[in-house]
Symmetry: C2
Subunit: 298 residues, 2 copies
DNA sequence: GTGAAAGCGCTAACAC
DNA sequence: GTGTTAGCGCTTTCAC
């Protein structure tokens, strides 16, 4: 022990891992770290796994399928003890790959019907339904929608689907030009809003599938001298930090990626201890009412 | 080769690392991943190291010295090939530790006089000087400042110093109550602005040491019905995404953390190839003029 | 070229 | 307890 002190000896974790067959590394794969949604997700994951002396091996994919596959392989090579995948393209290739390699795994932001892989996700269609219904409850009838890209099931298909479902449930029609797809960036929200304003009759409210795009949409309206919420109401989705930083503050759906990350981390930890896990964890959502939606006189 | 295909063999990187003495892992230590500044930094680092098949081992310290030391030790144990440290508390303990362990290292956001460690940093005092001088050139005389926390040399001391220097250089005095320290959060900027507004005579402009705090400051003014920039001008620092998302858009100092990260990554890569590196890389800054600063009539 | 063997720094399983 | 040894899965060396 004295000699350990004197020589400043430090064990070599690589050698240890070779024999113990565990690296205490969790591979986390996300498309875009610059997006606050994913950095919060990461933070949530780290907050739980670091308590148990696991560390993060981070893979950023830039939404490129090729990189996703590459990193999946790399995770295996580097012998990570577990994998958390944040909403990436989910293809059958991925599925096959993951099925072969028996590494504990959690995927967030997808539902993955047909795979026996634990997922953590919000009920996107229900949440979008609730958000749209809220708009309707405030007296809005002409409601537009800016969904995420259609290749992304949760933010594209599901949230758009929830919006459609709510409109249908209330007997409201969706005029031509009331749906304009974005690609997650604020800029795309700005442009989508511009397209929506070309419609024959202006909407009185817009449901936007992510906060960042909602900020873009609000900025377009601001730059055109259209007031939010007096002229047009805007509803976001995610409740990122930025939602409370805009003026007016954004009314949105609370879908805390930090909580997401924690749920995913906890699920993975259970798997690592060989405890049973639920196949699907649905994290609760809620409406957070701020300033960007106004009630219409009836 | 056929058998490799058939059995789906994958080499074990841990065993390989044990003999080759390289893990192709870069340890990156940052205080707060939820802060866009650091996620951009990380993205910049990844963009260069991933080209050379290095991957990220991420350590999030929550600004706690204890965790910083813990992760420094962990980096060593896990045999990372290089370390990039993003503005953390830099103490002599860290210095000693790093000196002992001959691992290639780059630190960003600090100047580290007295250590022989490569750093990449902006010239914070010059940049703050330039920002303040710009305010003065626009006719402002009563200029307040919201620096970062004083324990953080770059954002606290240096940027405050640059502001002071510019004021002095132009023969302007700094009234009592014109300097209110923040702690990097938007909320702290909001509160600091509130304190500044208690001063006997209101400033006509504020220089804020980070964009996020500047947004907080603008929000305080907005909530009080004080117009930006008509009543008070606000100048930020960093040029994060949010600076172009606010209305009015924030005039700020371009200090792109993505570029930072790239510079740090490149420096580290050079060290890994045993090429000589500059001890200090100063990344250029520039003013980005948007909407939050007005010219005062003279 | 192809094949066998040594050894990286640890842990676990033995003996004593 | 204290000491020795085998072996984790690779790379490298050296012999053939």
């Amino acid at each position: 022990m004295r000699i350990v002190e004197e020589t400043g000896f430090q064990p070599n974790a690589v050698a240890r891992s070779l024999v113990s067959k565990e690296t205490r590394l969790i591979g986390v794969m996300i498309p875009d770290i610059a997006n606050n949604f994913f950095s919060q997700l990461l933070y949530g994951i780290d907050s739980v796994i670091s308590e148990y002396d696991y560390s993060l091996f981070l893979a950023i994919t830039d939404e490129e399928v090729e990189k996703e596959l590459k990193y999946l392989r790399l995770f295996k090579e580097k012998q990570v003890d577990g994998i958390i995948v944040g909403s990436v393209h989910f293809l059958d290739e991925h599925g096959h790959y993951l099925k072969e390699n028996q590494v504990p795994l959690v995927v967030t932001g997808h539902d993955l019907p047909g795979y026996d892989i634990p997922t953590v996700n919000v009920n996107n269609v229900q949440a979008a339904f609730d958000a749209t219904s809220y708009l309707i409850s405030q007296g809005h009838r002409r409601i537009a929608c800016i969904p995420g890209p259609l290749w992304d099931p949760p933010c594209g298909l599901d949230r758009l689907g929830g919006y459609r479902k709510a409109m249908r449930a209330h007997g409201l029609s969706i005029p031509d030009g009331y749906v304009a797809e974005g690609d997650f960036t604020a800029k795309s929200g700005y442009e989508a809003m511009a397209r929506i304003m070309q419609a024959a009759e202006r909407p009185t409210a817009v449901f936007v599938a992510t906060d960042l795009m909602a900020v873009g949409a609000m900025n377009y309206l601001h730059d055109q001298g259209i007031r939010v919420p007096e002229d047009i109401s805007v509803m976001g989705f995610d409740n990122l930090e930025i939602a409370s930083l805009t003026r007016p503050m954004l009314t949105t759906v609370h879908n805390d990626p930090y909580m997401y990350g924690q749920a995913a981390g906890q699920n993975l930890l259970k798997q690592l201890r060989s405890e049973p896990v639920e196949r699907i964890s649905t994290v609760p959502h809620s409406l957070v009412i701020r300033q960007s939606v106004s009630a219409l006189p009836t």
